[in-house]
């Protein structure tokens, strides 16, 4: 069953056409890799799905029902949560306060720190993330651990559709492995469906079930990763680059 279907989405910003005609679907429990050059419209697409932008045309179907997303909060209420590139973590706060940010547990007017600490520890353990001290400031964590905290927060806020905006950018091999493991863990659970924006095609092939290529505001390629090789994927993107260098103006028709 498709948890998310987008049909003929279009979005313009003034003279700039960010998305021309995008259709994509996300199956239950699936991890979909979204690749494409800078400026291809990946972020715009993500921001439409998470309720930040409204599309000029096209429709979104979430869990079989057509919806018009009014806001990020509206999308969240439908179970769509985004882990932004910036992660939205507060360096000055502890790991557990970050995990419960804006969803704090309380006793009367006071924070129930003990319960939040315990649950944060349990959630992270549950996801196979190793953070020894949940009371440590987030500023002290490595890039991979920070990403893991942000993902764990989204998952435990009951997100059923998770949008990850370049979770592997600026991350070392070891750090990246932590995130890839985390995504595999989610896949094994089966109740969360994920869209990942990524630049590293090897990693995409490694962890995703299916890959979509976004070029000039449209999806131009859609295949299960089992049927694609790394060379093929690289060739797709490079071919377009070469075509452009040969002197044709803009996209080759």
């Amino acid at each position: 069953m498709s948890v998310l279907v987008a049909e003929h989405l279009a979005k313009r910003f003034g003279a700039l056409t960010a998305l021309r005609d995008v259709s994509l679907r996300l199956e239950q429990g699936e991890v979909l890799g979204l690749i494409g050059d800078n400026g291809a419209g990946k972020s715009t697409l993500i921001k439409i799905i998470c309720g930040y932008h409204r599309p000029d045309a096209g429709r979104l179907v979430v869990n079989g029902k057509e919806v018009e997303l009014r806001s990020v909060d509206h999308a969240r209420a439908l179970g769509i949560d985004t882990v932004y590139q910036g992660l939205a973590l507060i360096n000055e706060l502890s790991v557990y306060h970050n995990m419960f940010l804006n969803r704090e547990l309380r006793i009367g007017p006071l924070l129930n720190n003990r319960a939040m600490r315990r649950l944060a520890r349990a959630h992270l353990e549950d996801m196979g993330v190793n953070i020894p001290n949940v009371s440590a400031e987030v500023a002290k964590l490595s890039g991979g651990q920070r990403q893991a905290v942000a993902v764990a927060r989204a998952v435990y806020s009951d997100a059923k559709i998770l949008l990850l905006d370049e979770p592997l950018a600026a991350m070392g091999a070891k750090e990246g492995a932590l995130i890839l493991d985390l995504i595999r863990e989610l896949k094994a659970r089966g109740d969360v469906s994920v869209i990942i924006i990524a630049h590293n095609y090897a990693q995409v092939l490694d962890v995703c079930d299916r890959v979509n290529l976004l070029q000039h505001g449209a999806i131009t390629f859609d295949k299960p990763t089992a049927e694609v090789t790394l060379d093929e994927l690289t060739e797709l993107v490079v071919a377009e680059y070469r075509a452009r260098r040969r002197g044709t103006n803009g996209p080759a028709a």
């Binding site: 939205a88 973590l89 507060i90 000055e92 804006n102």
Partner: protein, 344 residues
């Protein structure tokens, strides 16, 4: 015997682990508890001045120090809230001067009873804070400039309406009410300690405090997490303004005169900002302590009072104050770097 063997083997290891946890916790407390270093300075200063002059620790002089500390500390609490949320308010000092006049106008010109007059003064102060917050968050004017503007605007209103003349404490407010609100020997200190206690809890143990830190630490992140950042900022502007009003009323009732120059200059505002900064609150936002601000105000009061007793004039006091602010800011930078690189 086989049953006791494993326990014997484990005991030293467990002890080691417990000792390590204890040590680590102790270290964390020292680095984390920024107030500790400020407290040490405050105590050292008291010892020094006591050695230099016997009068320093007498009952009467302690009362003087308490009375100098209290209004600055109360205003500083509001400043800490704002600094932590990434803003500042230069107009609180005038609100402090304006508030007792509002009480005076309400009682003497409009015949309103004292307690409702108090409520009106606090409501107007809260509204001033709301305007400051609105201009900063919705109209996107940086708080330094916005509150500089409201500082002059309010000062003008204050001097025009009062004709720049001091006024008497309203007759209805004299006696018991005046004693409770500032005139009693330790009244302003008690108010101050109450305010500090409440806001220490607010900042460290409530959702409001957590969101205040979030807004100042990472504004975009806080917004993405769904925190209503403008509401937090405006709320803190309102509370800072109301704390300014409280300090002003206490001070007017203590000196038994409603004086437009009380905090109408920049003195009270600047002392409060200094106290907050010396107490370990960074201007960058995201971190700060209310107890530190109280200790900062205490240090400033001790300095001024002690210099007076020793016979040093008020002029070099500013040299010390300036140096203290610079040194504590440099130390703060160093400490936060230490903390970030894993000083624990």
């Amino acid at each position: 015997m086989t049953g006791t063997l494993p326990r014997q083997q484990e005991t030293p290891a467990q002890q080691d682990r417990r000792l390590l946890t204890l040590l680590r916790r102790g270290g964390t407390v020292l680095v984390r508890w920024r107030e500790a270093s400020v407290l040490i300075v405050a105590i050292a200063m008291a010892i020094y001045f006591r050695a230099a002059n016997d009068v320093f620790l007498t009952h009467d002089n302690l009362r003087n120090i308490a009375q100098a500390t209290a209004p600055a500390a109360i205003v500083a609490v509001g400043i800490v809230l704002l600094l932590v949320s990434g803003e500042i308010d230069l107009s609180v000092g005038v609100v402090a001067a304006l508030a007792p006049f509002l009480v005076h106008y309400a009682v003497d010109l409009y015949g309103i009873p004292v307690i409702p007059a108090f409520l009106i003064a606090f409501a107007i102060s809260a509204f001033i804070g709301f305007c400051n917050g609105f201009i900063v968050t919705k109209l996107k004017v940086p708080s330094l400039v916005a509150t500089l503007g409201s500082y002059y605007l309010l000062l003008g209103i204050l001097l025009t309406t009062s004709h720049a003349y001091p006024a008497q404490i309203p007759e209805e407010a004299q006696g018991k009410i005046q004693t409770i609100f500032g005139a009693g020997d330790w009244s302003s200190l008690i108010w101050c300690l109450g305010v500090v206690a409440v806001y220490h809890v607010v900042l460290t143990r409530t959702r409001w405090g957590l969101h205040t830190i979030s807004v100042g630490g990472n504004l975009i992140g806080a917004t993405e997490a769904g925190i209503r950042v403008n509401r937090i900022k405006i709320g803190n502007f309102m509370m800072a303004s109301m704390l300014g009003a409280l300090a002003g009323i206490l001070e007017a009732f203590r000196i038994n005169s409603i004086d437009p120059n009380i905090g109408g200059g920049t003195a009270l505002t600047f002392t409060a900002i200094s106290a907050a900064v010396i107490g370990g609150t960074a201007l960058a936002g995201g971190s700060g302590t209310v107890i530190g601000a109280l200790l900062g105000a205490l240090i400033l009061a001790e300095l001024q009072n002690g210099f007076n007793l020793i016979g040093i004039s008020a002029n070099p006091f500013n040299i010390i104050l300036g140096s203290a602010i610079l040194l504590s800011m440099i130390a703060n930078q160093y400490l936060s770097r230490l903390r970030r690189t894993g000083g624990t």
